[in-house]
C-alpha cells in the first residue's frame, strides 16, 4: 500500500476544526499544553481567541469544558488519550458524562502506534473506560475522510463524544463520497467465511489481511465499526449469522474494547466463536510505530495470521 495517501487522524482533527471554525463561532477548543501534538494548534493559529490552553492540568481541562458546555455552547477538549480517558476519567464521568453535557473529547495518540514514547503514553484502555460511561458516544475513525466526518458529527451530536485519534499516518481508504453516520457500521468488503470487525487504524490492516487471505481462498467480510458505542449490533449480528465466525481487530487491549463490545452483542443475540485480536493484556514499549504494530501482530500480515489460525 506504499502508494496510498496517508494522513494521521490527529491531523484530520486539527484541520477539520479549522474548517468548522470558519462556519461556526459557537464553540471553543481547549487543550492541555499539547496543541502542537494534538493538532489543535492549527485551530489556535486560525482562531486564537476561540482557543484556550488549560496547561498541563487535564482534570481541570475536563471540568472547564463541562462548565462551558452548561452554558449551551459547544466545546472540544483535547489531549492525549492517556490523560483524557485515563487521568481525567472521573472528571469525564462525573462532570461531563453524568450531566450528559455536550463536550467532544478529542483524544489523540491512542494505542501502541504512539511509538517511541513507550508504554506510559500508549493508551490501550481508553475505549474500555469510555464505553462504560452511560450516554457516552465512542468513535474510532479509520482514516482522514472518516475522522473529518466524525469531527462534524461530534459537533452536531447531543451529549458527550469521545473521539479516538491516532498519531501515526493512516492509509486513506475512503473516497470523497463516503457517507458517515454515527452508530452505523460500514461493510468495507463482503465475504462469506469469516466476519472481521475492525475500527480505527485496524480497518486498513483488516482490509490488507483480507487481501492476503483472498489469495489463499479465504473470503473475509470486513466491517468497519467506527462507532464502538452505540454499537451497530444489527450489522454485527447479521454478518455473524452469515459467516458463523467473527474476528475483532483493534489497536487496544482485548479487554473491554471493540472486541468486548462485539462479544456483548453476540452473546445476547447470536453466539458464534469469536477471536479477539488486539493488545493482549500487556503494556506496550518503545519503538517505531510500524515496527510495534508488526511485533504485536497488528499489521496486515499479523492480522491475517490470526484469522488463519482462528479458522483452522
Amino acid at each position: 500500500m506504499a502508494d496510498v495517501r496517508k494522513v494521521a487522524t490527529r491531523d484530520s482533527y486539527g484541520e477539520e476544526l479549522v474548517a468548522l471554525g470558519a462556519e461556526h463561532d459557537d464553540f471553543m477548543v481547549l487543550d492541555a499544553d499539547l496543541a502542537a501534538a494534538t493538532k489543535t494548534g492549527k485551530f489556535k493559529a486560525a482562531y486564537p481567541d476561540r482557543f484556550l490552553d488549560c496547561g498541563i492540568a487535564e482534570q481541570n481541562l475536563m471540568g472547564v469544558a463541562a462548565g462551558i458546555a452548561t452554558t449551551g455552547h459547544r466545546v472540544f477538549a483535547s489531549t492525549f488519550a492517556m490523560f483524557a480517558a485515563g487521568r481525567a476519567f472521573e472528571q469525564v464521568r462525573n462532570s461531563i458524562g453524568y450531566p450528559h453535557l455536550h463536550v467532544v473529547i478529542g483524544a489523540t495518540h491512542a494505542g501502541i502506534s504512539v511509538g517511541e514514547d513507550g508504554a506510559t503514553h500508549q493508551c490501550n484502555e481508553d475505549v474500555a473506560l469510555m464505553r462504560t460511561i452511560p450516554g457516552m458516544t465512542v468513535i474510532v475513525p479509520s482514516d482522514d475522510v472518516e475522522a473529518r466526518a466524525a469531527v462534524r458529527a461530534a459537533y452536531e451530536a447531543d451529549g458527550p463524544v469521545y473521539l479516538r485519534l491516532g498519531r501515526l499516518a493512516a492509509p486513506v481508504i475512503h473516497g470523497d463520497g463516503y457517507h458517515f453516520e454515527v452508530g452505523k457500521g460500514v461493510v468495507e468488503r463482503e465475504g462469506t467465511d469469516v466476519t472481521v470487525v475492525a475500527c480505527g487504524l485496524m480497518v486498513s490492516a483488516a482490509l490488507e489481511a483480507a487481501d492476503l487471505l483472498a489469495q489463499k481462498g479465504v473470503s473475509c467480510e470486513v466491517l468497519n465499526i467506527h462507532t464502538v458505542k452505540p454499537l451497530d449490533e444489527g450489522l454485527v449480528v447479521s454478518s455473524a449469522a452469515k459467516t458463523g465466525r467473527v474476528v475483532t481487530v483493534e489497536e487496544h487491549s482485548v479487554i473491554g474494547g471493540l472486541g468486548s463490545a462485539v462479544c456483548d452483542a453476540l452473546c445476547a443475540k447470536h453466539p458464534v466463536p469469536v477471536r479477539k485480536v488486539g493488545v493482549q493484556d500487556v503494556f506496550g514499549e518503545s519503538g517505531p510505530a510500524l515496527g510495534l504494530l508488526r511485533k504485536y501482530g497488528l499489521d496486515g500480515e499479523g492480522v491475517a495470521r490470526s484469522i488463519e489460525d482462528f479458522l483452522k
Binding site: Q59, G63, V64
Partner: protein, 273 residues
C-alpha cells in the same frame, strides 16, 4: 432584605436541612448548616436568579463544589421558590429529584452536577470563561469546602482562573475547620488558605464570621467591585451552626439526626424564632 428577614429565611433553610437528612436517614447536615448564611444571602440578595425561569441564560450561576452539602442547597432553592418546600422530605429517596448530590438535569435551580470533590470549581471556571468569551455579564459563584481544597484539581482550576483574570468568578471557601477524619489540621490542612489563593492571583477577602450576613454582604460587594482578578472569599464558619449539639462536632459531617435529635434540633430553631 433586612437582616431579620434573612435570618428568618436562614432558620427555614436550617429546618429544611434537618427535615431532608432526617427523612433520608443520611446526608450531610454539618457543612450544610455552616454554609446556610452564604447560600441564603447568595440566593436572596446577591445573585440574579428567577425561580420561574431557572435556565435563563443571563442568570448568575452557583456551583456547589462541596456537593455533599446538597441538603443546604435544596433547602435554599426551595425557600427561594424553585420547588415546593414539602419535597425536601424526599431527599435521597428512590425516584426523588433531590439526589444525594446535586444533579443539574433533575433539580430546578441546580446549575451543575457536583459531588465528587474538587470538580465543581473547574466547571465554575468554565462558566466564567464562557461568559467572558461570549460577552455575557452574569457572574459565577463556587462554594468549596476547606477539606475539599485538599484536592489538586482545585488548584489547577485556581491557576487557570487567576491567569485569566476571571473577575466574574467568586470562589467561596467555607472554612469550618472540620472534615470527615477530624480537624483540617489533623488531616492535611490547606492553610494558609487565603495566602494560597493570593499566590494563585486571586483577590482574597477574609470574613471573620461567615455566619454573619453583614460581613458576607460586604465581602460579596467587594468581590463584585474587584476587577482584573477572581475573588476568593474565605469565610470562617461554624460547622453544624444553629443546632447546639451539632456545632463544631466532626461527627455531624455526614450523619442524620434520629427522631429524638431531630425533634430537639427543630425545637431549638423554633425557640430562636
Amino acid at each position: 432584605m433586612t437582616d431579620d428577614e434573612l435570618k428568618k429565611v436562614a432558620r427555614e433553610v436550617r429546618k429544611g436541612i434537618l427535615v431532608g437528612t432526617h427523612a433520608a436517614k443520611s446526608g450531610h447536615p454539618g457543612g450544610s448548616l455552616s454554609a446556610t448564611e452564604i447560600m441564603t444571602l447568595l440566593y436572596f440578595e446577591e445573585m440574579n436568579v428567577d425561580p420561574r425561569n431557572p435556565r435563563d441564560p443571563k442568570r448568575d450561576r452557583f456551583v456547589l463544589s462541596k456537593g455533599h452539602c446538597a441538603p443546604g442547597l435544596y433547602a435554599t432553592l426551595a425557600q427561594r421558590g424553585f420547588f415546593p418546600v414539602e419535597d425536601l422530605a424526599t431527599l435521597r429517596h428512590i425516584g426523588s429529584y433531590l439526589q444525594g448530590h446535586p444533579n443539574m438535569n433533575d433539580t430546578p435551580g441546580v446549575d451543575m452536577s457536583t459531588g465528587s470533590l474538587g470538580q465543581g470549581i473547574s466547571a465554575a471556571v468554565g462558566m466564567a470563561i464562557a461568559a467572558k468569551h461570549w460577552g455575557d455579564d452574569y457572574r459565577t459563584y463556587a462554594l468549596c469546602g476547606d477539606g475539599e481544597i485538599e484536592e489538586g484539581e482545585v488548584w489547577e482550576a485556581a491557576m487557570l482562573a487567576g491567569n485569566h483574570a476571571l473577575d466574574n468568578l467568586c470562589v467561596i471557601v467555607d472554612n469550618n475547620n472540620l472534615q470527615i477524619d477530624g480537624t483540617i489540621e489533623e488531616v492535611n490542612s490547606a492553610q494558609p488558605i487565603g495566602e494560597k489563593f493570593k499566590a494563585f492571583k486571586f483577590h482574597v477577602v477574609d470574613v471573620a464570621d461567615g455566619n454573619d450576613f453583614d460581613q458576607l454582604r460586604d465581602a460579596f460587594a467587594e468581590a463584585r467591585a474587584t476587577k482584573g482578578a477572581p475573588t476568593c472569599i474565605v469565610t470562617h464558619t461554624v460547622k453544624g451552626k444553629g443546632v447546639s449539639f451539632m456545632e463544631n462536632q466532626v461527627g455531624w459531617h455526614g450523619k442524620a439526626p434520629n427522631d429524638e435529635q431531630f425533634a430537639q434540633a427543630m425545637a431549638e430553631l423554633e425557640r430562636e424564632a
